[in-house]
């Protein structure tokens, strides 16, 4: 995507800074605690200053001034409005519903009810939202809302708009789930509440289409069963009525669940494949790892090994596409719980091979060797850590 011009960037940056400034999480003042601890302590060499003690009059004047400061402090402390809280949530970015999915897989998914086109539309106050693509496979729920009737550059308000009072935000922006602007209910139960069963949730512009808003929720475990009524409620800035969609969802559960609990070790590093979930539209891999990532000879000096990443290959050698790859500007930690989604298999394979790899990262610039637009960098596969898992249907 094209970079936005600088003024927009500065406004966004200022909004982020303001958000940090206003996000104070301090609940009670620590002043009394600190003053108690200071209690008996003596400031070293205070005698130096003791000579010029201010007189009574001056002291009274100063107290008044200090009270005024406190008042200012309170006004400035601010709070994070729900609208603001919504802002950064568009950052967990996701790609398309069907990325890496073959036509056959989409067809299978549709046959099994995993992907449906509810073709519902709701209009309030001149703005129409259409619910078209919806995906649910027990592991994740995604849908797209197309917006009509308003001409705005994106479907969600930029940071700089969101902090304005509600009545000054342009009409027609879709509000996300964190601000309770989008609510998802399964059989009437709010599934976003408490984020109890949710691994990640993302809400924001859908990159492949103009005026399209996408929501995706990844669940920790399939708890919602195979048949339910999904309710999507969405609020739009400047519109009083809530846009509500009710969709019956019924899926044929063809999920293959593997619990290999298999471990591979090399030097200090070991990983355990806890779980693999295979559905026609998603592959999910759950791994726990421990220990320092092994380094290759070129990963020395300014170059370090990144955290361990895992590729998945089927018995035909087809590589699955990982949905999100987290890149970090820091040295890897020694313990990870990995829970990642990949593109689906073309068909359920007989065996699956996990190929761990690292990237070679320059620790000054945090750029990986071979990194380009569209490529994470040169993958350093670690043959000794490869693992092949049989699939029993």
């Amino acid at each position: 995507m094209e970079k936005l011009p600088d003024p927009v960037e500065s406004a966004e940056m200022e909004a982020i800074e303001r958000m940090i400034r206003q996000s104070s999480m301090q609940k009670t003042s620590l002043s009394d605690k600190i003053m108690n601890r200071i209690g008996e302590m003596e400031m070293s060499r205070t005698e130096k200053y003791a000579k010029n003690k201010p007189n009574i009059m001056k002291r009274a004047a100063l107290t008044a001034a200090a009270t005024a400061i406190l008042g200012g402090g309170l006004v400035g402390s601010g709070f994070v409005s729900p609208v603001m809280a919504d802002a950064l949530k568009q950052i967990p970015m996701f790609s398309t519903l069907f990325e890496g999915t073959s036509e056959a897989a989409v067809k299978a998914a549709m046959d099994q009810g995993l992907v449906i086109d509810p073709n519902l539309s709701v209009t309030h106050d001149g703005i129409t939202l259409k619910l078209s693509d919806l995906l649910y496979d027990g592991t994740r729920l995604s849908f797209i809302l197309d917006r009509e009737g308003v001409d705005l550059p994106g479907t969600v308000a930029p940071f700089s708009e969101r902090e304005k009072p509600e009545d000054q935000i342009p009409k027609g922006y879709i509000k996300g789930a964190e601000a309770a602007g989008t609510t998802l209910l399964i059989d009437g139960k709010d599934i976003m509440k408490g984020f109890e069963n949710i691994q990640t949730a993302g809400f924001g512009d859908f990159s492949k289409r103009e005026n399209a808003y996408m929501a995706e929720v990844q669940f920790k475990k399939p708890v919602w069963g195979n048949e339910f009524e999904l309710t999507i409620r969405t609020e739009v800035t400047g519109v009083d009525e809530v846009f509500e969609f009710k969709v019956p969802v019924k899926i044929e559960d063809n999920t293959v669940l593997l619990k290999p609990n298999a471990t591979k070790t090399l030097e200090d590093f070991s990983y355990n494949v806890k779980e693999m979930v295979i559905t026609p539209v998603t592959t999910r891999l759950v791994i726990d790892s421990k220990g320092k990532v092994p380094r290759s000879p070129e990963q020395s000096g300014d170059y370090i090994a990144s955290m361990m990443y895992y590729d998945i290959v089927d018995d035909q050698g087809n590589l699955l596409k990982q949905r999100q790859v987290g890149l970090f500007y820091s040295e890897p930690k020694t313990e990870y719980h990995v829970d990642e989604l990949y593109s689906p298999f073309k068909e359920t394979p007989k065996t699956i091979t996990i190929k761990p790899y690292t990237l070679t990262v320059n620790k000054n610039t945090w750029k990986a060797i071979g990194e380009t637009q569209g490529s994470l960098g040169t993958k350093n596969y670690i043959k000794d850590l490869e693992m092949t898992i049989p699939v029993e249907k």
């Binding site: 002043s31 400031m43 070293s44 002291r59 949710i198 691994q199 990640t200 987290g326």
Partner: protein, 196 residues
């Protein structure tokens, strides 16, 4: 809230006056200083330490340390910048000393039920993941106290021109994240409760 220049100067003068009182033995006046700065100090420490219990301790330690060293403070720099310098060094030392322990705390945090983390807190944390430790300090100092590069230079002991460059770089990084609209340009962000 951008302070009006005159107002900021006046506030500065008021704080300096309170400091003078403390320096000349009026211990109780220090409470005013704590209440004036603790909120933003808490935010600064929290985003570096990522843990409330540790942050509470750190904020207390910083104010106590500042109190004990108050005789060293003279008006050449603003009291605010001096206080944050104490904080900056305290946080850096903590990180060095307790690197291992901080990591453990980090892990516990991941295991806490997600609902304990407020959305904006999580989101800012997520953004900060993409910055180096030094960049985090720069962004937080600029955010919480709206410092100029000169003031931040005072706090961190780095030339303001260097800080300006570093700030540009971190801004670029964040904007690449924020403005990226889902295409794989540079990899993607991991889940809010997943790998960190």
């Amino acid at each position: 809230m951008q302070p009006i220049p005159g107002e900021a100067e006046e506030k500065k003068a008021q704080i300096e006056a309170v400091i003078e009182r403390v320096q000349s033995g009026d211990k109780d006046a220090y409470g005013l200083i704590i209440r004036q700065f603790e909120r933003q100090m808490y935010t600064y420490c929290y985003y570096i330490l990522k843990n409330h219990a540790e942050t509470e301790d750190a904020v207390q330690e910083i104010f106590i340390r500042a109190y004990l060293n108050l005789h060293k403070y003279s008006r050449q720099v603003s009291f605010s910048a001096w206080l944050y310098k104490v904080a900056y060094h305290h946080l850096i030392n903590m990180k060095k000393k307790q690197g291992r322990w901080v990591q453990l705390v980090d892990k516990c945090m991941e295991e806490q039920p997600v609902q304990q983390i407020t959305p904006h807190d999580t989101m800012i944390q997520e953004l900060l993941t993409y910055l180096t430790a030094e960049e985090r300090h720069i962004l937080l100092l600029k955010s919480v106290e709206q410092y100029s590069f000169e003031e931040m230079g005072e706090v961190m002991g780095v030339k303001s021109a260097t800080l300006r460059k570093k700030y540009e770089r971190l801004r670029r990084k964040l904007m690449d994240r924020v403005l990226e609209k889902g295409e794989i340009a540079h990899g993607k962000i991991a889940g809010s409760s997943g790998v960190r």
